[in-house]
Symmetry: C2
Subunit: 647 residues, 2 copies
C-alpha cells in the first residue's frame, strides 16, 4: 500500500493503490479547497507533488509553469507509489492551523456474521436438510407404501424420528422413487422446537445432498435485497438489490398504508412487492446458475408495514392511534401461496415484529448482530426516516421507534438527495478562509447533499465556528459564501457554474434546523429509553449501526453534532443491512427461529410519544451537540482547543 506524506502537516497515511489523492486527504483530515465535487472543473484542489509521482492530475486548469513545478489537481490524481504532497500556501497559515485540521474520517468497523463461530457452537443447522437413501425396492412380501418405506429407512439409516410427509411429496414420490432405482434424496424441514415433527418437504431422484440452497430477503420500503445462500457451507453465493415496486404507490409506509385501504389496494401492493422479490430471485438464480428447484427455503425480514403488505394483512391500524399491528408473529406460509416463483415445497419464514414501528427488520438485526447474546450493554440503531433503537444485552432488551423525519435521507433539506451520484458526501472547511472542500459520490459536479454529507458538513462547520451551537451561521465571518436569500441565511457550497444544477448549491439554516431536529429525536430516543430502564448514556458499552446510512456516516462527525452518544469509535460496529443479515442467519441456523420468539417477547417496546420525559430530552437535544456538554467531553475539549488556537 502506497504512503502519502502531507506537508506542511507532516501527516502520513497509507492508501490503497490507485486511490484518488483528494479523497485520501479528506479521509486523513487534511483540507484542500475544492468545490466541484471532484470532477476537475473548479481547479481549486492544486497540490504540489514533491516526491514520487501520481498518475494523472494534469489539467488545463494548470499552466505549463505550474505543471513544471509539480502542481497537480488532487481530484484527478491517483496514488500509485509513495509520495510527498504539499498543500499550497492558501492553507498554510501557521503551525497552530495543523491542529485545526479535521480529525480523520472514522467509519464503523464492519461486523460480519461469524459463520465459523456458529459452526463451533453447533448452531450451523439450517432449517432445511437433505438425507440420501438407497431403499430396497418393494416385493410381494414387503409392499409397504412408498411413503412408509421412505420414513422407515430414514429412521433406520439416519436416526430420523417423528417424520411427516407433505402432500406434494406423496404426490411425486412414486415416480421419483423409481427414477433412479429407489435411490433418493429426502429434503427435511426441521421443527422450530426439538421433539416436534420433522416434515419431509421434497424428494429428488439420486443423491443431491451436495446441493442445498436458500434465499434470504430484506423487504425494505424502498429497496429489496436478496441473497442466495449455500446451506452446505453457509456462504452467500450471490446478492442483488432492486427497488421495491411499491414505490410507485407512495414513498413511505404511511402513503402505502393509505393506498392499501383503497379497493383492491392491498392486493395490488402485495402483488407488486412479490413481483419485486421475484425479480430479485430470478436475478440471483441467473447469476449463480442455480436451478429454482434447488432452492429449499426463503427467509424474509421487513418492517411491520412491509411484512403485513407482503402477507396481505390489512395494515390500516398501524397508522392510527394507538398503533396496533394485526399480529407480531407470523406462521410459516407456503412460498408459492404468497406468489413467489419457488417450488411448492418451499416454506417462507417471516421474521416476527415487536410493534407497529419496531418490525421484523429490526428483530432480524438484533438476531443477526447477536446483541441478544452479548453481555455488553449495547445500543443498536437503524437510521432511516424512522430510527429504530434497541438497547440491551442477553438479559433484557428495550426498543423504540422515533420518527426522525427524512433529513438523513435528504428529505426536508433544500438540496437534499439520496446517496447517489453527485451527492456531496464528504466535506471540510478551511477555518480561516471558510472555503469548502467537497467531494461527491462518483466525483462529478455536485447536485445535492446526502445524509452522511450533511452530517459531516454541519459537524465541520460547527467545529470551525461557522455554525454556532444553535445551528445558526456566524454572521460576522468575512466570507461572501454566507449570505441571506429570501430571508434565509445560507452558505454557498458551490456556485452555479461548478454544479450540475444551474443554481448555486447552498446549505440553509432551515436545513440545519431540520437536521438538528432529526438528530435530537434520535438522541432523545436513546436517552429516554435508557432512563426508562434506569440507566444513563454513560452505561453504554457498544453501539451497533445498521442500515445503509450507518456504513457511510463519519462517526466523529455524528458524535460532534450529537446524533450518536460520545463513545470510543472502536466500540462502534456496522452490520450493514441488519435485516438481510438476520434473514440469512435464520436460513443457516434453525435455533434462530426458536430464540426469536423469546427475543421478541423480551423486547419491551416503549412508545416514546407516550413517555413524558421524551419531549424534555428532545428539547435539550436541539443543540450542537447538546445542552449538556458533560456527555460530550471529547467534543468539548476539541472546541476549547480550537477556540484557544483561533484566539
Amino acid at each position: 500500500m502506497p504512503k502519502i506524506k502531507f506537508l506542511p502537516h507532516d501527516k502520513q497515511v497509507e492508501v490503497d493503490d490507485g486511490d484518488i489523492l483528494i479523497r485520501a486527504a479528506l479521509e486523513a483530515g487534511v483540507h484542500i479547497n475544492a468545490s466541484c465535487g471532484g470532477e476537475g472543473l473548479c481547479g481549486k484542489c492544486r497540490v504540489i507533488v514533491e516526491s514520487g509521482s501520481v498518475q494523472g492530475g494534469i489539467s488545463e486548469k494548470l499552466s505549463g509553469e505550474d505543471r513544471e513545478k509539480g502542481y497537480r489537481l488532487a481530484c484527478q490524481s491517483r496514488v500509485i507509489e509513495d509520495i510527498a504532497v504539499r498543500i499550497p500556501i492558501e492553507s498554510e497559515i501557521d503551525a497552530s492551523v495543523l491542529n485545526l485540521q479535521s480529525s480523520p474520517r472514522r467509519t464503523a468497523r464492519i461486523q460480519e456474521m461469524n459463520l465459523e463461530e456458529l459452526k463451533e457452537q453447533g448452531l450451523f443447522n439450517p432449517p432445511v436438510e437433505k438425507k440420501y437413501l438407497e431403499l430396497p425396492p418393494p416385493t410381494a412380501q414387503d409392499n409397504l407404501a412408498d411413503a412408509t418405506r421412505l420414513v422407515s429407512y430414514l429412521k433406520l439409516k439416519h436416526d430420523e424420528h417423528r417424520l411427516v410427509v407433505d402432500l406434494p411429496v406423496i404426490r411425486k414420490l412414486p415416480p421419483i422413487l423409481r427414477q433412479e432405482d429407489f435411490r433418493i434424496t429426502a429434503i427435511l424441514a426441521r421443527p422450530v422446537h426439538a421433539g416436534r415433527k420433522t416434515r419431509i418437504i421434497n424428494v429428488q431422484a439420486g443423491d443431491t445432498t451436495d446441493r442445498n440452497f436458500a434465499i434470504a430477503v430484506d423487504v425494505g420500503t424502498t429497496t429489496i435485497y436478496g441473497q442466495l445462500v449455500n446451506l452446505i457451507d453457509g456462504s452467500a453465493v450471490a446478492q442483488y438489490g432492486d427497488f421495491n415496486g411499491q414505490i410507485s404507490y407512495g414513498e413511505d409506509v404511511i402513503s402505502r398504508m393509505i393506498y392499501a385501504e383503497k379497493p383492491g389496494g392491498l392486493e395490488r401492493l402485495q402483488e407488486v412487492v412479490v413481483e419485486s422479490i421475484n425479480k430479485v430471485i430470478r436475478k440471483l438464480l441467473r447469476r449463480s446458475k442455480i436451478d429454482v428447484d434447488e432452492i429449499n427455503n426463503i427467509t424474509l425480514a421487513g418492517n411491520t408495514t412491509m411484512t403485513q403488505l407482503l402477507l396481505k394483512v390489512p395494515p390500516g391500524f398501524i397508522r392510527r392511534s394507538p398503533y396496533v399491528p394485526s399480529s407480531t408473529l407470523y406462521p410459516p406460509v407456503k412460498a408459492a401461496d404468497l406468489g413467489f416463483e419457488l417450488g411448492d415445497h418451499v416454506d417462507a419464514l417471516v421474521y416476527p415484529a415487536v410493534s407497529s414501528y419496531v418490525g421484523g427488520d429490526i428483530v432480524a438485526g438484533v438476531m443477526g448482530s447477536g446483541i441478544y447474546r452479548t453481555d455488553e450493554l449495547t445500543l443498536f440503531m437503524d437510521i432511516g426516516t424512522n430510527a429504530e433503537i434497541v438497547i440491551g444485552n442477553r438479559d433484557w432488551l428495550a426498543c423504540a421507534a422515533c420518527s426522525a423525519g427524512p433529513a438523513f435521507e435528504g428529505g426536508g433539506i433544500k438540496f437534499g438527495m439520496r446517496a447517489a451520484k453527485g451527492a456531496v458526501e464528504d466535506f471540510s472547511i478551511d477555518p480561516f478562509t471558510n472555503e469548502p472542500m467537497l467531494l461527491t459520490i462518483g466525483n462529478v459536479r455536485p447536485k445535492g447533499i446526502c445524509g452522511s454529507g450533511l452530517i459531516t458538513m454541519v459537524a465541520n462547520m460547527f467545529e470551525a465556528g461557522v455554525i454556532d451551537n444553535k445551528g445558526k451561521f456566524n454572521r460576522d465571518l468575512a466570507t461572501s459564501r454566507i449570505r441571506k436569500t429570501d430571508g434565509v441565511v445560507e452558505y454557498v457550497l458551490a456556485y452555479r457554474e461548478e454544479t450540475q444544477i444551474d443554481r448555486d448549491l447552498v446549505l440553509t439554516e432551515i436545513d440545519i434546523e431540520n437536521l438538528i431536529r432529526a438528530k435530537g429525536a434520535i438522541y432523545s430516543g436513546c436517552i429516554t429509553l435508557l432512563a426508562e430502564v434506569g440507566m444513563g448514556i454513560d452505561d453504554l458499552q457498544r453501539i451497533i449501526l445498521a442500515g445503509g446510512f450507518g456504513s457511510y456516516v463519519d462517526l466523529e462527525k455524528a458524535i460532534t453534532i450529537g446524533l450518536l452518544p460520545e463513545i470510543d469509535p472502536d466500540r462502534v460496529t456496522f452490520v450493514g443491512n441488519g435485516s438481510l443479515m438476520g434473514a440469512k442467519m435464520s436460513a443457516l441456523t434453525n435455533r434462530i427461529r426458536q430464540d426469536v420468539v423469546e427475543v421478541t417477547r423480551k423486547m419491551t417496546n416503549f412508545e416514546l410519544s407516550e413517555t413524558a420525559s421524551f419531549m424534555d430530552n428532545y428539547v435539550a437535544a436541539l443543540f450542537l451537540p447538546h445542552t449538556d456538554m458533560r456527555h460530550f467531553p471529547r467534543v468539548k475539549a476539541r472546541l476549547e482547543m480550537r477556540r484557544a488556537a483561533l484566539q
Copy 2:
C-alpha cells in the same frame, strides 16, 4: 302394529301399518306364488282374507265370485288392521310342508354410533371448537397487536395454551375485532396430540358459539355420501348421496387408475370427484339452511384409490404388483386447496389407509364401528366388488381384501343389476310345484336380479333341492321352468310377458357359478385370515357388516350359501355406510385422529394372493355352503329335515 295370521301355517307376525301383504308374507317365510315382482300383473298371488280386511287388493285378475269369497291379490293389499289370511290350496299340500317354508327373513340389527356413550366417556370433543371473548379495546398504554390480544385473553379467560394464529385469521382479525366492539368468537382447531399447538383458524364478530358445523363424506367409487354434522350436539342435520362423477371415466377403481395415467387424467378425475363432493355439500347446505361459513371442518373417507385421486396422488402403482400405494397416512390439507367450496379456514381430514386394497373407508368403518375397542373377536366385512375383511379386537387387527368380482353388485350375472327399481330382491320357491314367489324393488315388473336377491334365490333353491351343492339345477324336477338354452341350464324366474324386458328373466348355472366363486373368495379370505393369526371360524364372536349390500342381505340365506360363517344372526350387526360413520365420528371426536394412526399401524395387512392356503380354502368353498359341513351345523340340520320331509 297390525297382526297377520297366515293360514294354514298358523304363523303370526306383526307388521307396520300399511305394509304390503305379500312382502310381509315373504319376510315371514310364507311362500305365495308370484312372478311379476309385485306389480299386480301375473295375478298369481291370490290369498283369502278370512278375518279383518285389507286396503286394496281388488284386481281385474280376480272374478266377481273370487272377490265375494274374499280373494285378494297379496301384492296389491295393504295391511291396516289385524287379519287372518289363508294361502290358497295350490300351496296346501300337507302338514310337513309347513316346516319346509323358508325361515323368516333375518337382516342384521342396525348398530348406530352411540353419541351418549361418547359423551359419557368424555370423547365428544370435536377437532374444531369455538370460544367467545369480550376483549378490552387497545389504548395508548395497552397497544398489543390484535393477535397477541386475542391469544392473551384466550389464555386468561379460557385457559387455552400453545395457540398459534393462522395467516387468514391475522388478515381478517383487525376489521372483525372492531365490528362488534371487540366481542369476538375464535374458532380453534385442536391438535391431534394433547400438548401440541392449537390453531386459531377463524374468527367471527360477536358470539356465534351456538353454531358449529362439519361435513363428513364417504368418497365411494360409485357414490358420494355426505352428512352435515352439528358439532354442538353431535346430530346429523342432513344427509345426501349422489353419484361419483368419475363413473363416466370407468366403473371400477382399475379403470379409473388407467384413466389417471393418461395425460391430464389425474387432474381431471380429481376435479370431477371434487365437483361431485361440492354438489353434495351444496345440497346439504341448502337442505339444512346453513351458511357455508358456518362449516368449520370436513372429514373424508374413501378407498385407497379414491383417496389418492381426491388428493391428486398418482395411483398407478396400486394396480401393479406388488401393489404399493404412495402413502397410507395423509397430512391435513386445506379444503380450499383441494377445490372444495368451503371457507379458507377449513381443514380436510382424510382417513389413512392400510394398504392398496384396504383403504380409508375400511379404517373409518373400523373406527366408527368400534371393533378396535371391543374385547370380542369380531369379523368386520364390507362387501362390494372387493370385499374387505378385518378380524380382531382391541388387542390386534388383521385385514385383507379379496377380489370377489362384481357378482354382488349384479356383475357377471346374465340379468344382474344394481339394487334399483325392478330388481328381484326377495324370492321363495314352492318345493313341490317349483313355482317362484318374487318381489322387486318398487314392486314393479322384474327386469333383473340384484345381489341380495341373488343370494336369497340361490339359498332357497338350494334348500328346496332345485339346486345341488355344486350349484347345478336338478334336471329331474317336474317343471318346465328348468330348461336348457344354448347349452346352458337355466331357471325361468318370470316369463317375457311378466317382465319389463321383453325376454324371459332367467337364472343360469353360470350365474350360480359366479356367485359361488364370489362367496367362496370371501369365505376363503375369512378362513385364511383367521388361520394366519392362528384361529378358526368357530372363534368368531361377532360379525359387523358394512356397506349398502350388508343392509339388505338375508343373514340366514347368506349363511346357507356359505357367504357368511354360521353364527347366531343376533350376533351380526349392520353399521350401514361404515365409511360415512367413521368420517362423522372423526368430526365429533378428536381422539379418533390420535387412535387411528395406532389402529392403522396395528392392522396387519395380508395379501391373500401371496398366502399359499388361500387357494386351497377357496377351492373348498366352491360348494353350497361348503365342502366341510361341520362349520354349518344349522344349515346341515335344515337340509336333513327337509330331505326327510320330502322323502
